[in-house]
Amino acid sequence: MLIPILCNSDCFSNRFLNKSRLYFLMVAGLLLFGNISLAAPYLPASADEVLERLPALANGSDQQLRQLQRTLNSDPKNLDLAIRTANRLIEKARADADPRYYGYAEAAVSHWWSRPQPPSGVLMLRAMIRQHRHDFDGALADLRDVLDEEPRNAQAWLTQAVILGVKGDYEQALNSCRMLKRLSSRLVAATCSANAASLSGKARQAYQYLKDTEANSDEVQAQLWALTVLAETAARLGDNKAAETHYLQALALRQRDVYLLGAYADFLLDQNRPADVVSLLKEDTRVDGLLLRLALAEQRLASAALPQHLDELQARMAAYRLRGDNIHQREEARIKLQLLKQPGDALRLALLNWNVQREPWDARLVLEAALAAGEAAAAKPVSDWLAYTHMEDVALQRLIEKLEQR
């Protein structure tokens, strides 16, 4: 009887502790969200203050594109014009790695986009935009429809091969590449096949075959792709000297390619040459994937620029999360693992990403995160899959061995 009688204000504090903790979490959540979306609006001091630099419209092809868009605006139901404009916008999106242009491309064909059976030109565009948004199954469905109607559409076969490769379905990817032999240039078909073969146990043969084919070609765009595949294959085989040579050959073509820059930066990081990465990428902070590699290099150099770049990366990831997009999972996993040293979170993201994409880097992130988090068992789906595909990759092999010693 005495105990409850003597229970006064202390009982209350216990009872309401949970409530106050909840309030605290709510407030913390607000502050976090506030930070991301609404920083601190201000009034610029002078009318001359430059607020924003627009993407260059300097060159002739950009001005042509603007002109095309204007014409389309006055005639939005012109299918040919719409497809031509959208194709140019997707080219621009890929060249600048700027996702807004995918949206503009979708707008160009919006009149047909949601129809039950869009014209095949629109389906082709929709597949490429869906590929960008990581809706791989939606993209493959669109491509099947295009190919049912136009079995000689090289563009569709190639896009299909690329997506199947990203998903890790190398056998089907090779089938699609085979169709290209009679529909496109020899080097394009060879690069397509060599890429898929090099990832499924035939890296040496693929490398030699592609090297020979590339030597006899003068198509700049196809060469760029072929040299990138050659460099990546050589690096996976452990021939760093050959890889370096091919990367430099590709860069010497002077075609700006975000993918090539990212792949070469990764190669340099693996060679522990962070200073070279900084000089390669210091102007490319607008592209998330390149900013990530720059920050990784700056981390190794203990550079003063790192905190700002890291903040920027995290703000961009947060912005993607607010939108509900998941196309940043690979980059986010890598930020958590390598920049922030949070292997647990990194492993979760890497495994989510693994359900969508299965390129060597996707496998590598799972293995590295599992190793760092001390959760070797979590890497089993990836190690099983690597054994199944016979993928040759010295970096992945080293990680597997380390995991097996655990």
């Binding site: 409530k19 924003e52 996702p99």
Partner: protein
Amino acid sequence: MRYVLTGLLIWLSVAPALAHKPSDSYLSVEIRQHAVEGQWDIALRDLDYAIGLDDNADGQITWGELQRRHDAVAAYSLAHLTISADGLPCLNRVTGHLVDKHSDGAYAVLRFAVLCEAMPRVLTIRYRLFFDLDPSHRGLLRLQYQGHTQTAVFSPEQPERRVELATPSSSWREFTEFVKEGVWHIWIGYDHILFLISLLLPSVVLRDERHWQPVMHFRRAFFEVLKIVTAFTVAHSITLSLAVLGIVNLPSRWVESAIAASVLLAALNNIYPLVSKQLWLVAFGFGLIHGLGFAGVLNDLGLPDGSLAVALVGFNFGVEAGQFTIVSVFLPLAFLLRDSWFYRRLTLGFGSLVIAAIALFWLLDRSLDMGWAASVNAVFN
């Protein structure tokens, strides 16, 4: 077409590259007591794409260029946003233009007042900005209302959000929550119970000369109890309200000690009666002090901003309900036993003595801040 455009083919080799940022705007709507306010951050790049900001076409947007286009920016943006209160569209009036930097560049910040016919119960926001130019554009909404924040994403597929404000269910939930707290407080607030019981114990008997005589009719006992309970209730409601509204503010140590003293005096009064006729006056006087004690509890709970009245009435209602339960058990029992030795000696006499002893313990503990109650608690736990 034997060969396809090589340029296009080659870009296909890249795995989906990630870059820049897709287009987003940040819409923040805050609902205050008598006003709805908005802030809308829109990327300069997107505004330039839609209505053109770069007057001199040098690839740069300066503050001066943006200022010259402020009217156009406001007109274009607000034409793509409809906020309605209970189905009637409100008027959005611009109150200021600022600039902010987000992760992907500079944004125009549009501040506006939302003028509605009446404070809405259902707020509907319809968002269509840029969807025609870029279907991958998203509007990220943050809505603040009474300390709560809701977020939502507008897309071409989901351009509209309906937000129920001040729904009866939510304030009803708040009300019942506070009723529960009131009942709970009476139930574990032994000082209040013992005070009430001390006052009620003599209600079924009459002081006659120096002896207790049982009252003859239940009616009489009932009205005696009613008077006491009503006086106590009115008194503590008054001080509870005054204290919660911040009009009266006394140190809690003083209040708690005074509550202990009130229990002590009420119990001693049953042993050496000083007041035996107008007990309701005693109940009223000390009730004022108990009300201050309730206020301390209610403040500890954390009061909701916009619904103080709901909290106050709810908590008080809970306290009354708890009291009523205690009284409705006490009165019939006491009335039945009033004529027995058990009631008059053991309950009224010895019971009051025990209550007085406990109250004295509280009084010393609270007024001298001895921490006895806490240490006894610790031993028994």
